[in-house]
Amino acid sequence: MTRILATPAAWPRLLLARAAAAEPTDLTAAVRDGAFVALRSAIRELGPTATIATLADSGLRGRGGAAFPTAEKWRIAAEQPADRRFVVVNAYGADPASATDRALLERDPYAVVEGAAIAAFAVGAEEAIVAVRAEATEARNALERAVAAAEAAGYLGPDVLDSGLTIRVRVAPVTGAYMLGEETVLLKALEGKRGQPEQRPPYPAVRGLFGAPTVVNNAATIALVPWILRNGPTAFTGLGDPTVPGTWLVALRGPVGEGVAEVPTGISLRELVDLAGGVGPGRSVKAILVGGPSGGLLPPDLLDTPYLPAALRAAGAHVGSGAVVIADERSCVVDLARLLTGYCSAEACGKTIPCRIGTRRLFEIAERIATGRPRPTDLELAGDLAADMVASALCDHERLATLPLTSALRYFRTELDDHILRSSCPAGVCRPIAVAAGRGS
């Protein structure tokens, strides 16, 4: 099971409220804790329009990284003329270093199941598909058990809560590619096709799975919906930062500790570092990787940046997978940037040329710098190439894959210069440099 980090008791617990439950898939215990109250009130009292309006009042925004208003997405999908609609919950958790989706499904599968059912009811879909990572057996089993129990108890199925409505929740285990975290790629996988992104617009809310209007939401977004309907939109708006109210799930990883934590939005990076136990006595933070493999490397001066999409984008990082990795001075930023760019390049789906070839070239540049064979034009080339890739990108992977290297260029220029001009790695990680420069042992 994924490790949950202890957070101050005063912090709101929305997603991991039932983290301490002995058996998270026990339906009776979950119902005692308030599960399916929101689904009942949505079906019996609110109706689809008022459910979406309640969400709009709460200001809930997507937790998948783009922070798109959830109610707006649902409204667009509900308004499309179509004979069938779908709800897809993205619980794939593409980033191997981030277990937020996994933690959520393991600890509170009913929140996701109930949220998916509410979403299906609100947009008029009969089927909600929860895409889960096939290797995450514990999360997958918890979810499958939860769906089966809810169906047996009449919360899902052909006659939901005696309303005559059909709402089915299907668990779709997917695996095999990092790109499945991207919404259009995930839809392709569910259609049984090669996972390559599609041009947007039309957005999936207009034309998604099998050409039908499809709401694609992150698992954490969906899991927040029942809480909002239970406690009212005003209670939610008061939590965290006003621009993106509520809480996040973050996967923290530092030299001292690692684990998943639920934090209010708008918390600063410094607080996240402290939550992960800091960097240990006698050491200092050198860089914080925010956003997973395609995240940005931020310097310690930016530790007071709030963990919010707009602020992070301005700083050259993104919320992304919710992963925050803390590196102390024993790590080399150039080596990290090389590693991350290499991973993004290896995982590129190959649909567009700027991404397929651009990420590869960026990786080669980073590799040249790390191994002490840089060309004089390399830094300029990296900047130009990254700008071109961002300008011509089809999906966010392509746009964001440039971040590790560009953020290293932006904030860690002295360390890059040490590698390029002085052929030395201050952290002593990039060993072949001295050898390449002809003065190694």
């Binding site: 270093a97 997917v174 990092y178 096709k193 996972g195 790590s331 190959g350």
Partner: protein, 228 residues
Amino acid sequence: MTKPPGLGIVEGLALTLRRFFAPKATIRYPEVPADVPHRFRGRLQLLYDEYGTLKCETCFQCAQACPVECIDMGGFDTRGRYHVHWGPPETYAERREESALRRSGRTVPDPAYEHWTPIDPAPLEAILEAHEYDPARLLEILEATQAAYGYLPVAALRRISQATGAWYAMIYGTASYYRQFRFAPPGDSAGDAADADSSGGAAARRPSEDAYLAALATALGGRGVGQP
């Protein structure tokens, strides 16, 4: 009914006269460039790089993207292992008769797929039947096929294509995209290291992810997951 004498020659001359004054179809080519549709790309040709290797990665994207489905491919993949051959069914004479055979209610022979290592078709037929020959459930079909045969034999892919109606380019493209699929039996010496690595049963292991996590741990100073 016969024409009055002389009318034939008058008709012929009239045509000559009309054509004589009509606009000319001849293009004075080098001086006047031909007017071709702006998306015309000329003859399809595969390029070689400076080392003399084909630049084509046989990734099937062109075959999948071609709006008129005119692109056909054949040969071996870039590792020289798997014989790939597909294209729109109507290109092949032997496939052109399929619809006729199907209409007459007879089984449709597919000699093309019998050329590869023969497989016992019974498990595959059961899998296809269980998935209702639905191309939208291709990933499930492929996973079940790999579980039954240990890998995805070409003959099985051909049969899936034939039975579901999904295009071979689509099936091969999909199967080669997701990491859990392999095209050679586990432990086959022709399979590369990554293939051999990923032979750990139905639950797909992700070599690149493991490598990424290991490298991330190294980059962070040799501290693995959970070790301070």
